[in-house]
Symmetry: C2
DNA sequence: AGCTTTCTTGCATACGAATGCAACACCTGC
DNA sequence: GCAGGTGTTGCATTCGTATGCAAGAAAGCT
């Protein structure tokens, strides 16, 4: 009771004016002093600074932003945050931005169109200095709003693949190279029959497929040796496992578009008493933390998330620095890395077309 | 070439003044029209609205915030976003806030003191209307800044446990109840020797331990039947497994403070050829998505994350609505739920002190 | 001493939107 | 035809900060 504590501390927002009054100078002088302007004498600065932080002054960034027409903030739009791929990206993006003196305004677009549009609208309303949009499943639902943002002079960068967008800057990983690397790896192990598990229209992950197939055909593998198993959810992955099990001449290696899918496959395969990679090799794509949690750990392709985030931030900063925004779009494509783990191995010795080892 | 595209659209920011000019009215009239004020006639409103969205007008929220002294934004401080517990929380918090017309300003405190202080400082500078701080490992490193925030009239709510904080509103899950439920479950299965795996000083998860022990002693289980295995990282979890393996009279059930730890235990136990729950039962805490990815799926305690987030938002909104902030602190404690899965079962039939079944 | 130069400070204003108050137009009733 | 009301609109100002410009003080120069 000897201390006042949280009693009433309401609305005691200290402004430059308050400090000016206490210091007996004008408000602009305080502004300049705290900004360390060379116009102000050293001793005045010192005195004002002392008074300022004794009074617990904190800049009002909304006022400053209004005046300077800059929020020093970058908007980041991601579809969701439960998918472990995004947290990593957010973290890296935030770190790079902070290093450059920028703050982060995160928006969750939730993958449906209205939400993404709303996010972009909000980001425009709060006057962020630039926006990075991470595509969800290869789409850019709110393309219109994104273009409006650009036309309003706000730099926009797209992270990931999106079809038919001519005038956006982009940064992405070379999924084709990753897919190709996986194919070569599996062929090197001796596999000849392959399965591909993922969404059917392959939206967004199209290049993974293309790269994988290219890798196969480069090694002289016929296209007929590849089967497709459409699946996006866990249930569909389980179904895919059953379909695979029932095949007479089944693939000895399965390529899942995403680590999460690969993890589902491993789970349901082992549930059915099959061994990975003894009976079948599984490879994924993304290299999520998840990939090391499943047993066996997943062979996969590591997306260079830190590099992607850093590149995106730099592209935005470059655009922001350009006084009139240049017309030419910029694209950067980074190369992912193959990560070998335990889920891939040589095919079973006996020919898999006979069902003898299925019992 | 028939279309101009992204040519030059720079700095064409439309303001209320622009619209006023085009409509031949005053700026305040436009402001009121777009705010649907009853002061403005229906036909003027219609005309202005048309002109506004033909011109692509977007409110400038920084100007509005400056004038109204409210940003309609809630700050959320979480230690990190890689831990899958947080994404879920963020999502729920964002959804509840949005439903109430509030936006989210996410800050990653990174668990070290300066960072958390910087986050709170920034949130104060941008004038958020309220702040939810999610404690990292039971600490509130930037307590000073949090109190400064409160004294400046900004509502602050703490999510999670933090020792010795008298004047903060809080919302938390009843970890003790969860721990106790786990203990009862294991005892019901017939276990008599227990191991606890987690950080040694039990910072932040202290109640989980207390509840677990209380549950045991309630069932008449002696305290000597409990061993502690300090571990926070994966490496330490592996070490714990080895120590456990070497014990003459080892526990038949292991309680990990966090699902992630439990997952590590399962992984390294099965790596060493042991069966879960055949040889040893494992239980976790948190009910992350991860818990269903590991094999066997984890028996754990489900934290009511949605409810926690919603409660926190409501506490903040209540505080914001209070004109002078009331002095009395508010605390809400929610009850978690036991989730039974495959990682727990009856103890092995042969006494585990003999090593016969270890081969 | 008078004048220019260099420092330091204050004045005025702008950023874009919201709002109390005054002013004007219109309609009604006498 | 004029007082009083009602319904719309404009004027003036405010939020807190930044900055171009003028003004004043101090100092150096002839």
């Amino acid at each position: 009771m000897h201390e006042s504590g949280t009693e009433s501390g309401q609305r005691s927002i200290v402004t430059l004016d308050d400090i000016a009054r206490r210091a007996g100078v004008s408000q602009p002088t305080v502004s300049r002093a705290l900004a360390d302007s060379p116009l102000i004498s050293a001793k005045t600065k010192a005195r004002i600074r002392e008074i300022a932080d004794e009074a617990g002054y904190q800049v009002n960034l909304v006022a400053r932003s209004l005046k300077t027409r800059s929020t020093q903030t970058l908007g980041l739009v991601v579809p969701q945050v439960s998918n472990p791929y995004f947290p990593k990206l957010i973290q890296c993006f935030a770190d790079t931005a902070r290093a450059a003196g920028y703050h982060l305004q995160l928006q969750l677009s939730g993958a449906d169109q209205e939400a993404e549009a709303a996010c972009l609208g909000y980001l425009r309303e709060v006057r962020v200095d630039g926006v990075l949009i991470v595509t969800s499943r290869g789409g850019l639902p709110a393309r219109k709003q994104a273009e409006a943002l650009l036309e309003a002079g706000v730099p926009v960068v797209i992270l990931g693949w999106v079809e038919d967008c001519e005038h956006f800057d982009m940064v992405m990983a070379d999924d084709a190279v990753g897919g190709s690397a996986l194919a070569q790896h599996l062929i090197g192990l001796g596999h000849t029959r392959f399965g591909i598990v993922g969404a059917t229209p392959h939206r967004g992950h199209y290049d993974r497929l293309v790269g994988f197939l290219a890798g196969l055909s480069e090694a002289g593998c016929a296209a007929e040796s590849v089967d497709h198993f459409p699946a996006v959810s866990e249930a569909e992955a389980e179904e895919a496992v059953d379909i695979w099990l029932a095949m007479p001449d089944r693939p000895t290696a399965l390529f899942a578009y995403r680590d999460v899918l690969a993890a589902y496959l491993v789970k349901h395969l082992t549930n059915r008493g099959l061994s990975v990679p003894g009976d079948v090799s599984i490879v994924g794509f993304d290299n999520l933390d998840l990939a090391t949690f499943v047993n066996p750990q997943l062979t996969t392709v590591d997306l260079p998330i830190e590099a992607l985030a850093a590149t995106a931030v730099n592209q935005l900063l470059t655009r922001i620095a350009e006084q009139p925004m240049q017309a030419a779009v910029r694209r950067e494509i980074l190369t992912p890395q193959l990560v070998l783990r335990q889920s891939s191995g040589p095919p079973p010795v006996s020919m898999p077309c006979t069902k003898e080892n299925n019992k």
